[in-house]
Symmetry: C3
Subunit: 318 residues, 3 copies
């Protein structure tokens, strides 16, 4: 396994979920795998959960972990080809990436959508340069279009809390003061549509996700109808894909509150965090007994540890 | 032991001082305690000594250590209840704290007084949320009202350097260009008044510490009189408690210099550092043979290591 | 070995190069040396390669590693003597340095030239205070006048790639939009002139390096003539030493391109990185088969690991 961006990188999803259970029950069992191996976590954007859970997963596997806030601890990196570098960017990714590959065994990269140009964001130029030039296994720590460690952790959490074989999972848009990327909902849909769940997506007009993600997924425009009988309610804001990066609505009638949760089948509330209280979700739901956002966050260590374990196994097999 | 804020958290002070001696002589003897345990050091404010000495203490005990500068590496955290989070704060402490608890085994938190509201500062809202919601042992790395790791290190240092059974210890206010919190003098008084020392506090008018700290403590308004026969002179600036956060004096006649030290009983000069030269203390005293600020700083590893050792023992006993 | 600033600190250069080969082939062989030892890496200026390669070298030797961005994670440090510290600098190096020495076993320091005063920069006040007051072995991670870890890595790389016993090595100035320190070229000249190479330096008028470095070194004013028959071309920009810190030329006819490399003896292209593409060197040369900048950067781990290994051996011998 030499990259982690999409569910297919994990191969069989059932086996991956079994491995997640094993890792969770035996967090320190495979430390010999990580001995003398260095994990480099590179952040072009800030992070709390991803940073801490990835460090922890690396420690659990006996790795050395280096965290680098690029653009802050380092310097501004040029990503375009053929330019005369006479401006404020001190280094080109084309050198920085293979150099970092010389100092690390596995590289995790976080790089959000810039929201300036949809084609640019969706072509994932930064992540692709790491895959092409680093010479090392690369893990997405959330890129412009996807957040696979989050979605894998979400699926692990659903597995743990589901009461029926094939639970109904509703992804609902909810309001937020800022323009947020589509990475989390894109990945969520991408993972859930191949998992053993009944997925329904609901959002206001103009908030369609990219067609390559929504292909084959049920869409219900009326939020209350979508929530009926839901076993899991996954709330998330995102900015428009069609009017790229725009905020078309801050309609708080989409906020998930106790009345909406009453429509579900005793549904559990999920969110990737950080969450805006009383915008995305009411205090009552978030602090109530059906909120599973904290165990969901805890599973971020598990999803990362499964990925690292597989990569280390591949490295050690060489 | 699941929190460290006040001397009572250590139980018997004599035993704690004996354990400090043991830890100092055997820094690497208890590494099995920290195996597979992660210490998270969280800084809402900058730090040099606390950061480095805490990392070192964690390493000495075989722990993994994560340092996180919150508000900088992370994001702005909301602390108020019931708000609609439509501003610049991306996450509520109510989620961030239990999430961090999922990734760490012991959490250290630094959060200074904001000096906007005395009641708010003295109610320690941030530290209290960590204690209430993290589910982990919590160590104060200096909060609005106390700096217990410093005061414990101060006491260890006094134990090492004292020449009489019950030394005279003088805490004296000294001038500084900025408004500084009362955390260090509060804690110092809190620890010294239960230790085997004769404590005297001296400061200009208007600089009384909070009554709950000063209760039962000798106060001498004339600095030179206070210094007479002192075995230890602990200089420190703080802003006013009564005119909360205000600078009432920058009177450099309170600066500790060679003439003042001559009034003491060959007294040792102490300061928690960082220290403003020629404001708090003259170059001559600070660079002279009776300055023990460096060994005092070195004991910051020892005080932290005793606290971590006890917490790890409690965790491993579960 | 208790400091690393100049080649003489390594003693016999041939032996050091043999040790580099050993370290490269056996990166994890000496981990018992670093057990319970802490390496503190202190950055007054940003870093990518030095930071990551030094962390990696420390890990390879089993050390604990602390990275501290001073002036950012910490606070502003006063360096002058005798001042009344009533301004924005919270702490004097005179305390900060010995305190850091209490928490670390080996200290690496990066502190660039400030370009305000040549005598000040060239007297290396910060590095000297660490050597004088830290009580620990000190490694330059690039100071105002030298970058010895880079030059040692450069020499290791030349050893690996040379096809003749005594290769011709050309150090050539090249244009850059900003004023850069002389540390890299100073050190490069200092190391190459005692190594088994034929060194030639070329640069435009006004770009002479300090006489103490250039003494005994061949200088050729015409770049094309210097490049004739070169086995290694080391390009680098620096600001003027005589008109201290000034940019006298941005002449892109000094940029290394394919035509210039055609003058050499199938020469290898070297640069310490980060490099400005199409200012210092053309895309074609940098991406071509004779560019060895990535293995050169990889050898930064090796040079640091040799230095750390020797220092640890000295510490453990005590």
């Amino acid at each position: 396994m030499n990259r982690f961006l999409i569910p297919a990188d994990l191969g069989d999803l059932k086996k991956a979920l079994e491995e997640a259970k094993y890792v969770k029950n035996n967090p320190f069992a495979d430390q010999s795998l990580g001995r003398n191996k260095t994990l480099l976590l590179l952040f072009f954007n800030s992070s709390l959960r991803t940073r801490l859970s990835s460090q922890r997963a690396g420690f659990n596997l006996g790795m050395n972990v280096i965290v680098l806030d690029i653009n802050k601890d380092g310097w501004k990196l040029e990503t375009e080809h053929g330019v005369v570098m006479d401006g404020d960017k001190a280094e080109h990714l084309r050198e920085a990436v293979p150099v970092m590959g010389q100092y690390a065994d596995i590289i995790g990269v976080r790089s959000f959508a810039a929201f300036e140009n949809r084609d640019y964001d969706y072509s994932e130029p930064i992540l692709k340069q790491f895959i092409e030039f680093s010479g090392r296994p690369v893990i997405s720590l959330e890129s412009a279009t996807r957040h696979p460690l989050q979605s894998f952790a979400d699926l692990i959490t659903i597995e743990e809390y589901k009461k029926v074989n094939r639970p109904k999972v509703v992804l609902t848009w909810a309001p937020h003061p800022r323009a947020l990327p589509q990475a989390v909902p894109n990945s969520f849909v991408e993972w859930m549509k191949i998992a053993d769940v009944d997925l329904v997506v609901t959002h206001p007009e103009g908030y369609d996700l990219a067609p390559e993600f929504m292909k084959g997924v049920k869409y219900e425009p009326v939020q209350n109808k979508a929530l009926e009988g839901a076993d899991f309610v996954y709330a998330k804001n995102w900015a428009s894909y069609n009017s790229y990066g725009e905020i078309l609505s801050k309609d708080r009638s989409w906020t998930i509150d106790e009345a909406k949760m009453a429509l579900t089948n005793g549904g559990k509330f999920m969110h990737c965090l950080p969450v805006r209280r009383n915008m995305i979700v009411s205090d009552g739901v978030l602090d109530g007994p059906d909120s599973i956002v904290i165990p969901e966050a805890a599973n971020r260590v598990v999803s990362m540890q499964v990925v690292l374990k597989r990569m280390l196994e591949s490295l050690n097999a060489k």
